[in-house]
Amino acid sequence: MSAKGRERRRLLARVATFALALGLWFTPIPAGLTSQAWHLFAVFAAAIFSIIVNAFPLLTAAMLAAAAAVLTGTITPAKAFAGFGNASVLLVVVAFLVASSVVKSGLGRRISFLVVSAFGRSTLGLAYSIFLTDAAIAPAFPSNTARSGVLFPIVLSLAQGAGSIPEDEKTRRVGGYLMFCGMASLAVSSALWMTATSVNPIGAEIARQFGLKINFGSWLIAASVPALAAVLMLPLVLYRLFPPGVSATPDAPAAAREALRTMGPLSRDEKVVAVAFMLMVAGWVMAGTLKLDLTAVALAGLGALLATSVLTLDDIAKEGGTLATYLWLAVLFAMSGQLNELGFMGYVGGRLSSALAGVSWPAAYVALMVLYVLMHYLFVSQSSQVLALFGVFVEVGQRAGVPTPLMAFALLFASSYFSTITPQGGSQNVIFVGSGYLQQGELYKLGALTTAFCLLVFLVLGTPWLLLVVR
């Protein structure tokens, strides 16, 4: 498409966005909702729509939406800006800064050579190494956001080690493929282990009120077949969906071993970063037991890296992308939370799911799953969706005759794998999104396709398996 054509298309998308916002705003308010909730939905829906149709970048859409919501008096400034003080948002930002030390010190390069020397015969091999590493470490991390802070520097180093640069269209795709593998890996590994994300115990607690007792073992058994199938298939599926351009690299392992020899022993900065990371990982793993705040652990790591001059203030000043990420994430996080608090999410979830009354249970089960996953387009937090909708959907499933364990487990697994549906669908995505390897449109396309694939795997393989093993 010519530059003029692209410009015309963008203009049309912008007009459509504003038309949508105004159309929804002036539509009569549905019974059962307040004007505040409906108007906030109009603003939020238009913002998400504008991102999907490439009318505006994420940051621009978020800024315009926040301004519109506050200046029209739809929500108070305190509510609109609450995301800037949210610990999860801050954790993403700090993890981003800490990750830059892994790259700067050279430790990331060394790790990438180690990984490539073992798995680097193909790009697909690297992708599998990401999925398998994440699946192995996941049960020890109660927060998948913290886990993304560990995984991201490795993936970034692998991308850079492969010569992939975000600004270079020829080499960008390798990095983009590996970055999305990192996001997808976090999504399915969180479904595999009950302790891999803070969302899972919350869901298990709600499920207990429906008479379902879930523990670490029963979760693992229930998740094993569909989640492991997804782990095994996703690198291949993503490879097909987003070919990295580079496939076979038979000489890479030998070259990586040679590069490692050339690098010599660990430098002072590499040692400092390695120790800081080990302490942070220990802090994150033991956070529940020792009652440590995850963000405070990350701040301690960042502080140590600054104090030891591994990172300097100049390095921080160069991280303009991190600031942009912080701004859009905080705004969307707060707006989505407000939609929930104003009752919009519960209202839509309740209305959609109750429309299924009288449908046969298998049809109701599939419809509920699809609706539950699609509704994640409106959420910027997985736990918010679980708290707002999980109980509602389980109850509607129960009423439709869906076996409660099947409904509950299927929804719980979806609460993890749907996180890739949008770049903002889980805070663990954000650090990968901010790398710049994937364009906005690619993120939404890959997110929708990956989530659809996971939904299919969990329905086709997971449903019979759950009916077999869970009573």
Binding site: A13, L20, L24, T27, I29, P30, A31, G32, L33, T34, S35, A37, W38, A45, I48, F49, I52, V53, V116, G120, G161, G163, R173, E205, Q209, R240, L241, P243, G245, V246, S247, A248, T249, D251, A254, A255, A256, A259, N340, E341, L342, G343, F344, G346, Y347, G350, R351, S354, L374, L378, S384, L387, A388, G391, V392, G441, Y444, K445, A448, L449
Partner: protein, 198 residues
């Protein structure tokens, strides 16, 4: 960088993602919006579905709410919490009060003596129903009763009562709390014609 190591550029397969043309994703987004808007498509009931002045009607439904909880620890085994919750109250059954409201409550929950609170339900016109709450301390399974004390707009002068049970209440360390109340059922009476004006 791995000089030379990744230089073997194999022909890539046709990118499937790129075949999902830019035109299709907006359609998906639009479809989702239509779905959401359709979910909200039930408009305000006409006056015929509202209780007539002096008429008494029953209602039932559910309430999903989230908010904040601030707890003060007292002597061992005793704590008091200030709770603030908002959320969607969906009504079913006779729909004597319409499809639903946004429900807001502010209250004090004492682990020994129980909970008290003030509740406001707001409908799509901005009309409100006020009630006083009393019951067991906030928590999973706790039972609460409400006394409707009046309202604004078309609910001016409303009286009645209702009860509900918290199916679950999940509180997190950061002071946020979410819950779902089921078995919400009650009766409301609007004042006889002219009574509200008096």
């Amino acid at each position: 960088m791995l000089p030379g190591a990744l230089a073997v550029m194999a022909p890539a397969a046709l990118p499937v993602a790129s075949r999902i043309t830019a035109a299709r994703l907006p359609r998906l987004g639009a479809a989702l919006l239509v779905l959401l808007t359709a979910a909200c498509s039930e408009r305000a009931p006409g006056s015929a579905s509202m209780p007539a002045p002096g008429e008494s009607r029953t209602f039932e439904g559910t309430w999903s709410a989230s908010g904040s909880l601030q707890t003060l620890l007292l002597e061992p085994g005793h704590k008091a919490s200030i709770v603030s919750l908002t959320g969607s109250l969906l009504l079913t059954g006779q729909r004597g009060l319409g499809v639903g409201f946004q429900g807001e409550v502010i209250g004090l929950s004492d682990s020994l003596t129980g909970g008290v609170g003030k509740c406001v339900w707001t409908d799509e016109h901005g009309d409100k129903v006020f009630s006083d709450l009393k019951g067991q301390p906030l928590g999973t399974g706790s039972h609460v009763t409400g006394t409707i004390t009046g309202g604004t707009g078309r609910y001016a002068g409303a009286t009645g009562s209702y009860e509900l049970q918290w199916q679950y209440v999940i509180a997190s360390d950061d002071g946020s709390v979410s819950g779902r109340a089921v078995g919400l059922k009650g009766r409301v009476t609007l004042p006889a014609a002219g009574a509200a004006a008096r």
